[in-house]
Symmetry: D2
Subunit: 431 residues, 4 copies
């Protein structure tokens, strides 16, 4: 978050807080709107250790405001419940002892109504803090509030991912929302390659807008000329890979990936199901037959990497992706499009398509610090830095990413085996 | 269930069904009453593989009536939902494929309201079946209904056990019912030994009342003279065992038990917690300080066995227990006493106390078939017989056992490591 | 060992020690003879946690004499190496800390030569102790020596079992001894049932010969009349069970057994291998085609129990077995027969065959203490008593049991899932 | 191996083969010399899944020559034993099915003598192949032989690592070689920082000498100016980190590392042991008291990374390391120095010390393909490429690396949790 404007006058700050308060309120409402279609029973379940119960998400993002803003900055603030500092701390080891992650689904109380009361309590207090901020601390309050909002947006996407995973455990294929936008019937665009010139390039965030610490500092990298596919890999293309023995040919796989698919018995993307000889996939709108033109989704890095090798190509590095994406408008099938599922490309214009939205694109780059990286101070320094091991970068946002949350320098990251995020791929090549 | 009267006249049968219907209705209401204090979120959780979500229990016992009575015997019966035959089959491998036990807590739907509708659907149909039973099948319907009721009573006790375990996961110590009967303040009765004459004895069920197949046939066993303690081992006595290094002295333990306490880090009964230097225990009425005169509870067979060895005694065999108990009235601190917790003995009369109720008493006997045992026919034969390996017998019922469910020949069984049932011990000795 | 004669005169004792010394020397030589065909590399391997490296066995049985006889009774005895008291203590928690069982195969030193030197050191000292026993302690020395010899005999059988398991890991099917007695070609005897009269019987050891503590005290049991098969179940019969879907029919299995065969993927006895459409089995003489008339071997209790259920019979209780066997001479295909493999019955005489030797017969009885059981004093009390949980009794000895080690009251025991011992079954029935 | 000279004339080739043959013979002798001090029992053990039994190493490197040279190129070559193609294939999934890695320690045969005969068989055949190579294939034979030699050198280092790990399992602390060079008594040199100029640099291998495919192609990278410590971090400095609570302060650790040290209970480097209040370490020369001036060794990437953070520094990237090292002579405490343990720096010259040898230096760089990387053709393509996931790069060689095996572009790699290789660290910083 290091790049909020650094020396605004006091007046500017107050104006900034007004605006922040409005964004705060909209943002908080969005989280609750995402959960609105759930039954209370859905809120409780942790379908695997990576998933959190929806009510935990709703409480945790509130705890973030309480722990990092209300307790330190709002005089006289009374925490809603002292145990929540234990229950809803996710992973800030230097703040308080987090409740064990894998046991989040064993805690029935506080229930949904109590969590909503907690949210209202925090909302009222945040309203007060942002309306009457203590002098001298306005800037830090603005910075932390901004971070809290970005944090809650990340959990909005996690909520969508986790809800999907929770419902998918059920052999009854429950429907999250029957009113989702239907996918427009579009054919598959021909794959075309776009060439990009390398050289000494700059990547990373710089300037006035918000960015996470891990996106900074902006720095130079030398990259060779490269080419990128104009669109994402489709379900139909992925089926060809499967039909060609993709999951049975060791030479296509990284060693770790080969082990993973053996152990897990993977032979198709997550959520795919073969019924009466046809492939279907579980979506948030229920079980649907597979749309061959839509981008393949819910694959691991290992699968993306194996597909690329099979296709005689490779995954782009995150620098390549950023350079190519920097000339593309930040728009696409994002959360607000209300598909909650990747869709086939609709545009026949030249240039790169599906760069933002639809699916997060696995890159070839491990998630490591940029040269000169400095984490945030204090417990907030745990936000990103400590995860820079064993994970791969994904770029571009997906169909559950809020539109004002994504940007060209955004670095998402997951372990190479993760499949429950909306993750797919775009091919790259040497020129 | 083999011992329902075998040749009643047709009239008697119909009268029997009327009575059964009334018992059916009372029984079904009890299950729902046990769950009434829960919040919806509590119904969903499976806190360990042995535990089932309360809403699963409510649905499963209904499925039992549907699968074994309504579908085969009620003409035109329509199952409430076809998938339920998969979701709510517990372990009848020869009936349909059971949904994996360890995943019961991952299924949010059907929700509580839907499960209650399912129950009402089954209740209506059972009402019809018991009122207008198909000719020629009345006897079998009566037998199976009786079995279904006994089955539901077992799940009533499981509900209480599982609810306790679910709530105990929560560091907030939620209270199941604040209105539970308080434990009467009673001192610890002096332990006295009662001598019993052995010889060629008969054990097992015979006669008109209901009994499970595993309690039959009544058969002869030769046992030596023995003595039994007049009451259960108390919390205070168990604390002495702990203070004497009970959990650290290998010579007191069976080899499997020694391994178990190392692996699990056990050093006190389940639900005990030391706060500010004093022992407390989680109860269904909330966290309470330990009642030293009350029977020790929530210990494994290994702990019961080690305690007995430390005390210079042993556990009784199930035959010894049955012979001793057969002269004692079937009454005690059972479900209807509404303590939902073992309490100190209140009687100063001679004879054995706390024989029924309070805690199930671990015996020295592995759960194996009686000589000449025959399981029920068909899928119902899976009810008891297939579990006769790796488990130990417990006798006498506990504070969550329905009063009309327990009897002198009743054989409960759990793996030697199980602690979440209300299990304690009474000492035995050679004469 | 409680039943060595208790009050022999001093002269008798010394004579006893002379005899013991000779038996000691023969016994010790046998252990080394069993290992003689091994290559040094074979001595090191622990092919699963239950198996011990052969050199560990050779050292451990020597440690037993050192720890329980030489150190306490031979004045001035110097242990060969102090660390051995840690390395070669198997499970006597009250003696010294045993080296972790599962890591025995990670210790290359002491090597085989060093272990043999250790044996020689112990042998010399034992010679001295038995020749010049300290006064007043002759009787205890005799008792403990006897126990040590019996103990070493148990390890002789374990050596044979473990060597087989170790060699069987190797896809090259190495041959332990090419000179083993070939199995005589015998047809399968017709199965006949023998009836036995029950009543109030006595079982357990009493008298002058050696017996383990767990075989005592001799006590009364009431058993019903029963019948036993005249011979063991054969490979050919077991193949019929397999062909009839034995491993795929849940109704034939105990619940634990059903889980076990799913998890482990068992569909045939251990060591069976199907090559070119025919069943073979790994033997100590190498890979052989299956002898249909020979007793089935290397099956778990679960498989024995499922087979018996499939055959409309059951396993005998250990009391039934003991009563039936008490009229049969203790002879059969034992270690000295030098087949090291079960063979078809050769006798056409009336009566029970294969009672001793060939395979240990799984019984229906859990391994629990006899009424009034008292373990040995001190650390030796850990010998048997602490294992009386979670195991089943086997009777009769197998093809690797020394002939003077087996007797009618002998109780062997293994967990119900164990298959690497020579274990099979004989059918029983109600009359 | 892509960079053997590509178009030598035929004469040059034959000369090359003569030279190769001599190197082949020396190289093969070295492997056997490393094993010479072992007892036969030591050759069999696999102390953890990452470790292989020494006799497996000796056989596997021979299999490499057999599978990739003798079978395809030597007319009439007869494999020593057909099963070896299964037993000694390490991980070439596209060649034949490898024997499961974790079970290598369960195979006693072939024994050591047989493996040595296998080696002699391969050596003779290789002698023939290199003396009379088939026309047209000389170049490919030379390339593959070179690769086989480099491969065997890698296994020479693995042998030393694995032997150390095997012996370290033994509470007796066996000594591998009592005649190892003693560490020269040297004080700890003051840590000085050396500045290096960044810019657009070239890294990676190019030219005539051998290099693995993963070291190519040479390519451009832009790096910022940086500074490196003149020497490795010492045991004494690492003790200060430990004394300052290094293993208990979450803020110093990557999230994965924090989890790892909790799970594994790590609180010091591997092989460290505290005896009577003083730190010792297990070495190949036996248990020694810790040399405070010697480089810290046997730490994971996580520990190296946490130490660097604690020290206010960071790990170098592999590009930084390569640029800094390119002006340093390739010499140091390597295999031939015969310490088999890292030693304190002896030089007081300016410049970087301990760059080659002593310990492999963990870098901050994940092991990923260089831009434009092409793996070798066929099964040999599995050599490096498939491991480019989940591992970190180490540079510079250690005290068990053959001197003619290491070079400035050499990329070693291990998972971040690996500790049994000789791995330590050098600090880096921004300028």
């Amino acid at each position: 978050m290091g790049n909020l404007a650094r020396e605004p006058g006091q007046q500017a700050e107050t104006a900034g807080l007004d605006d922040l308060l409005q964004r705060f309120q909209r943002n908080r409402a969005t989280s609750e709107a995402i959960c609105a279609p759930l039954e209370i029973e859905d809120y409780v379940i942790q379908s695997m250790p990576d998933v959190s119960p929806p009510k935990w998400h709703l409480a945790h993002v509130s705890w973030f405001f309480e722990a990092f803003l209300l307790v330190p900055y709002l005089p006289g603030y009374k925490p809603f419940d002292k145990v929540f500092d234990h229950l809803f701390n996710s992973y800030y080891e230097t703040h308080s002892q987090p409740f064990p992650r894998a046991r989040r689904g064993l805690i029935s109380r506080p229930g949904v109504q109590e969590v909503l009361r907690y949210r209202a309590h925090v909302d009222r207090a945040m309203g007060e803090l942002l309306t009457h901020p203590p002098r001298q601390q306005t800037l830090e309050i603005a910075r932390r509030t901004e971070l809290g909002l970005q944090h809650e947006q990340q959990h909005q996407e996690l909520l969508v991912m986790d809800i999907k995973h929770i419902l998918a455990q059920n052999p009854m294929h429950p429907v999250y929302r029957a009113d989702l936008e239907p996918a427009p019937g579009a054919g598959l665009e021909r794959l075309r390659w776009h060439d990009f010139q390398g050289g000494l390039c700059e990547v990373g965030h710089q300037g006035n807008g918000f960015a996470f610490d891990c996106e900074t500092p902006r720095h130079r990298q030398f990259i060779e000329d490269f080419r990128l596919a104009n669109r994402l890999v489709s379900n139909g293309e992925y089926l060809s890979f499967m039909a060609d023995g993709g999951y049975a040919r060791a030479e296509l796989w990284l060693s770790d990936g080969w082990q993973m698919i053996q152990q897990q018995g993977w032979h198709a993307p997550l959520y795919w199901e073969r019924l009466d000889g046809f492939w279907h996939e579980m979506t948030l709108g229920g079980l649907r037959s597979l749309d061959l033109a839509a981008p393949v989704c819910h694959i691991s890095f290992y699968e993306a990497d194996a597909y690329a090798r099979w296709a005689g190509a490779r995954l782009p590095s995150e620098a390549e992706w950023e350079i190519a994406a920097s000339s593309v408008a930040v728009e696409g099938n994002l959360l607000e499009s209300d598909y909650l599922h990747p869709i086939a490309n609709l545009s026949d214009a030249d240039g790169l398509h599906q760069v933002y939205g639809d699916v997060w694109e696995w890159t070839a780059s491990p998630y490591r610090p940029y040269p000169g990286f400095q984490p945030l101070e204090g417990s907030l320094g745990e936000y990103n830095g400590k995860f820079m091991s064993g994970q791969m970068v994904l770029r571009g946002g997906g169909c559950a990413t809020p539109a004002d949350h994504i940007r060209v320098t955004y670095r998402n990251f997951f372990p190479p085996s993760a499949r429950w995020q909306f993750g797919g791929l775009r091919l790259a090549k040497e020129i």
